[in-house]
Point group: C2
Chain length 333, copies 2
């Protein structure tokens, strides 16, 4: 009998299709063989030596006179960072002029690396960069939401091979975000505690969906994961704002983040994935009812008409089995 | 300057990326050449002669002793149609046993046809079948939502070539649906009219995003279309329930539906697409604040990290230009 599970945090429902569920190994076979990439490409605007091919640098982390991380505006930005966020309403036409911020974070000088294969110190550099830019962009009063995300691989929407992530700051708060905030607030009002803290506590007690944990973070496949190997990384200490992450927490997050990406890489054969940091600072830096986290979504299945039409998902894997598979996946040190 | 537009009906926000927008013709070039299919395949369970390879038939439309449409349960159903929809709550585990209905609608006996190339009478047969099954499934008190949808082409999630659509009845109402209903209700309370009626009226007045219209239906690319060529078909007479569609309306819907699918087929070169009928009968058959409609989503771009993380979309086409392109697309009679 299939199960329809509800995620207590997002209120999303998912059909866990037990009768047509695949074993974790079956998700490996679906990958395509990836081509070998060179360490450097002359024609890649993100490779060292081609710094003049990108818009002016906003931020960098250097080591031994070589940049390790670079941040600059997206040359093909979806939004324009001069001007104002002017709102107009005329009948059904509700529009904001497309003011906003769209930045690129180049994650390593090496063209052929992938976050799973970076050293832990470089993952720390990436997290530090995210924190720096996150706080800087939220400082602009016109920005209402900062989304930090990565598209890894073609089916996750990447157009450039060189490892990079993106940061978009928009002058509006989308309704999806507002609904989540309202639901978290309602849970807090009803139950007297943060729904994320509760979910994490029970996931840790249950244990069977945990992938990795250390002092400050835990990675798990949620009870009602929407798709195969959909993974959440939660800070253990309640905090509503990623921008407040401490030095000690960055250390621990880097360990868990690298650990999960490595397990996906070696366990599933470098699948395409997206990740996103979910944190909403405009609510105030530290709220009792909201909890920031990272969501990693391997792109092992497609959203089809049912998902688009109902907002429900069909997951053809068992979260408990997938978590065990990743727990048992060994990575070379 | 890009524009951030809000859809008054769904409240979704979309970045219309004017600065990196493509011309309509550029979406054609992205298509892959499709392979030629035979009219009949011995190994296709949906082809005539192989009726014994499907679960027992629920419904059919015949002409000259040959079936034109067949409906039967999905052999690999996501949900199980015996048993009860039992709800359990234990800590964070909220689960409903996977009772539900999952049916296949074979749209034509011919393996190599596609809805765009079917005769109008056959499109009418498909709509009649949807109506019949929609009402029958909603009659089951355990079912809360019926989703009628089609996945056309690989990137839209099809696994079988033979033209077919699917109907899923779930024992729960997803929160996405609930939010939409609440927003429509709130608009109705504030403005005193159905938000869909208002949007349709203004789209018809504006005219520039209209693709086709006749007495009872209009097809248009909404002002804040989430993705390229995303098309809506609205009934002109207010009705909250697809199951109440009249014989005359079926005639008119078939004309518009075929017209739009043809224009997509010839204009864009048979793109992959999903369509879904959005109608919620559990609210009562005829509500003043809700309006059923059909949403057609050509899969010309990918959802990436930004969309997954923020619930906002980036549309690299201009709705006005896309609608003009489809209006101007001529189809062979």
């Amino acid at each position: 009998m299939p199960e329809i599970r509800q995620n207590i945090v997002t209120r999303d429902w998912v059909i866990i299709a037990t009768e047509r569920a695949k074993r974790p190994e079956e998700f490996v076979k679906r990958r395509q063989v990836k081509k070998e990439l060179p360490e450097y490409r002359n024609d890649c605007p993100f490779c060292p030596g081609n710094e003049d091919k990108t818009p002016s640098e906003i931020y960098r982390i250097e080591q031994d006179k070589q940049w390790q991380i670079r941040v600059f505006p997206n040359k093909f930005a979806a939004l324009n960072n001069d001007g104002t966020a002017e709102r107009k309403r005329e009948g059904i036409k509700r529009v904001v002029s497309g003011f906003g911020v769209h930045e690129i974070v180049v994650e390593t000088p090496k063209h052929n690396l992938t976050p799973a294969l970076l050293k832990k110190d470089q993952i720390k550099n990436i997290i530090k960069t995210y924190k720096e830019r996150y706080n800087a962009i939220y400082n602009d009063k016109r920005i209402k939401l900062v989304t930090i995300f990565k598209n890894h691989g073609e089916s996750a929407g990447t157009s450039l091979e060189h490892p990079h992530s993106q940061i978009i700051g928009t002058p509006i708060t989308p309704s999806d975000i507002r609904y989540r905030i309202e639901e978290a607030m309602r849970y807090y009002d009803d139950a007297g505690e943060c729904v994320f803290c509760r979910a994490l506590r029970e996931e840790l007690q249950d244990g069977e969906r945990i992938i990795l944990e250390n002092k400050n973070f835990a990675a798990f496949i949620p009870y009602a994961a929407l798709s195969a190997f959909h993974t959440w990384i939660f800070p253990k200490n309640h905090s509503s704002c990623f921008g407040l992450i401490s030095v000690e927490e960055i250390e621990d997050l880097a360990e868990i983040f690298k650990g999960v990406l490595c397990k996906l890489y070696y366990g599933l054969g470098n699948p395409d994935y997206n990740y996103v940091i979910r944190s909403f600072s405009k609510l105030g830096p530290s709220l009792e009812y909201y909890h920031w986290y990272i969501s990693i979504i391997p792109r092992l299945s497609k959203m089809a008409g049912f998902e688009l039409g109902s907002g429900m998902f069909i997951n053809t894997s068992l979260p408990e089995e997938s978590a065990k598979f990743l727990r048992d996946t060994k990575c070379p040190v």
